[in-house]
C-alpha cells in the first residue's frame, strides 16, 4: 500500500517537474528571478516596471538563442 502511494507520489512529482521545468530549466529559473525581483523592487515605483519585463524578455531571448544551437540537427 505504502509502496503504491510512494510510486504515485513520485509519478505525480515527475509529471509536474516535466510540465513546469521540462527541457527549459532556464525559463523556470527566469520566472523565479522575475518573482524575486518583483518583491525586491516593489517599493521603488518606476524601477520594477522597467526591470521586471526586461528580465523576462532577456531570459526568453537567451533561451531561444540556446535552443537555436541545441535543436539544430547534428548540433
Amino acid at each position: 500500500m505504502s509502496a503504491a502511494i510512494s510510486r504515485g507520489l513520485r509519478a505525480f512529482g515527475r509529471f509536474w517537474w516535466e510540465f513546469v521545468v521540462g527541457d527549459t530549466p532556464e525559463l523556470f529559473v527566469a520566472t523565479l528571478v522575475v518573482v524575486a525581483v518583483s518583491f525586491a523592487l516593489a517599493s521603488l515605483h518606476v524601477v520594477p516596471v522597467v526591470v521586471v519585463p526586461a528580465v523576462a524578455v532577456a531570459s526568453l531571448l537567451w533561451s531561444a538563442a540556446r535552443g537555436r544551437v541545441r535543436e539544430r540537427p547534428g548540433a
Binding site: F19, V20, G22, T24, L27, F28, A30, T31, L32, V34, V35, S38, F39, L41, A42, S43, H45, P48, V49, V52, P53, A56, V57, S59, L60, L61, S63, A64, A65, G67, R68, E71, R72, P73
Partner: protein
C-alpha cells in the same frame, strides 16, 4: 478569455488528431468514450481545484503563484513558436501525427467489436495530457479574475469549435495555423503572468490594468524582432515532426 480560448483551441487540435486516429483504427465508440471520460476528469479537476482556490487563498498570494505559472507556460510557448517560425524547430504536423498514431495502433492486436481498451486508452491519454495545460490556464486565469465559470466556458467553446471544424474537415487539421495561435497565446500568457506577479508582489503598474497592453506590445514587438534574427542562422529546412 481570448487567451483561454486560443490555448484550448491549440491543445484541442492536437487531442482531436489522436482521437481521430484512435477512432479510425480502433473503432469510434471506444475512442469517443475515452475522449469523453478524459474531458469529464478535466472538468472535475477544474471544479475541485479551482473553486477552493478562489474561496480560500488570499488574492495576492494567488496572483503571484498563478502569475508565475502563466509566465513559465507563456515563455515556453513563445520560445517554441519563435524556434518553429524561424526554422530551428520543425512545425507541428497533425497529418504526420495522425499517420504515426494509426500505424502504431495497427500493431496493437485485433480490434474488439464492442469496447476496445486500446482505442479507449489512447483517446483518453491524448485528451487528458493535452487538456492538462488548458486546465491549468483555465484555473489560473479564472481564479485570479474570479471568473472561473467564464474561463471554463471559453475553453469549452474552443473545444466545441475545434470538434465541429474537425468533423467537417476530417483529417485536414494540419491547415490550422497552430504556430500563429501558439505565438499569440504565448504573448498573452506571458503578459498576464508578469502583470499578476507584479500585482501580487506590490508593484504599481502605471495605468493599472491598461499596462497589460504595454506588456502585450512588448512581447509582440520582441517576437517581431526575434524571429527574423533567429531566422538568419536557421539551418536547411527541417522535415515536419509530431
Amino acid at each position: 478569455m481570448l487567451a483561454v480560448f486560443g490555448a484550448s483551441a491549440v491543445e484541442m487540435v492536437e487531442a482531436l488528431t489522436i482521437v481521430l486516429a484512435a477512432g479510425t483504427s480502433r473503432g469510434w465508440r471506444s475512442a469517443l468514450e475515452g475522449a469523453a471520460a478524459a474531458l469529464g476528469v478535466l472538468a472535475a479537476i477544474v471544479l475541485v481545484v479551482g473553486v477552493p482556490l478562489i474561496r480560500y487563498v488570499p488574492i495576492d498570494a494567488l496572483r503571484v503563484v498563478v502569475g508565475a505559472l502563466l509566465l513559465t507556460l507563456g515563455l515556453n510557448w513563445l520560445r517554441k513558436a519563435w524556434l518553429r517560425a524561424s526554422g530551428h524547430k520543425a512545425m507541428h504536423d497533425e497529418d504526420l501525427i495522425y499517420a504515426k498514431t494509426v500505424e502504431e495502433l495497427s500493431h496493437d492486436g485485433p480490434v474488439r467489436a464492442q469496447r476496445d481498451a486500446v482505442g479507449f486508452a489512447v483517446a483518453f491519454k491524448g485528451v487528458f495530457l493535452e487538456g492538462t495545460e488548458v486546465v491549468l490556464i483555465v484555473i489560473s486565469l479564472g481564479a485570479s479574475q474570479g471568473r472561473l465559470g467564464l474561463a471554463a466556458a471559453a475553453a469549452a467553446a474552443a473545444a466545441v469549435v475545434v470538434i465541429v471544424v474537425g468533423a467537417i474537415v476530417a483529417r485536414q487539421l494540419s491547415k490550422v495555423p497552430e504556430n500563429a495561435i501558439k505565438l499569440t497565446v504565448g504573448v498573452m500568457l506571458s503578459s498576464f503572468g508578469i502583470f499578476w506577479v507584479g500585482e501580487g508582489a506590490g508593484v504599481h503598474w502605471p495605468g493599472s490594468d491598461a499596462f497589460l497592453f504595454v506588456l502585450v506590445a512588448l512581447f509582440a514587438g520582441s517576437s517581431a524582432l526575434a524571429i527574423p534574427w533567429l531566422r538568419r542562422s536557421a539551418p536547411a529546412p527541417i522535415g515536419a515532426v509530431g
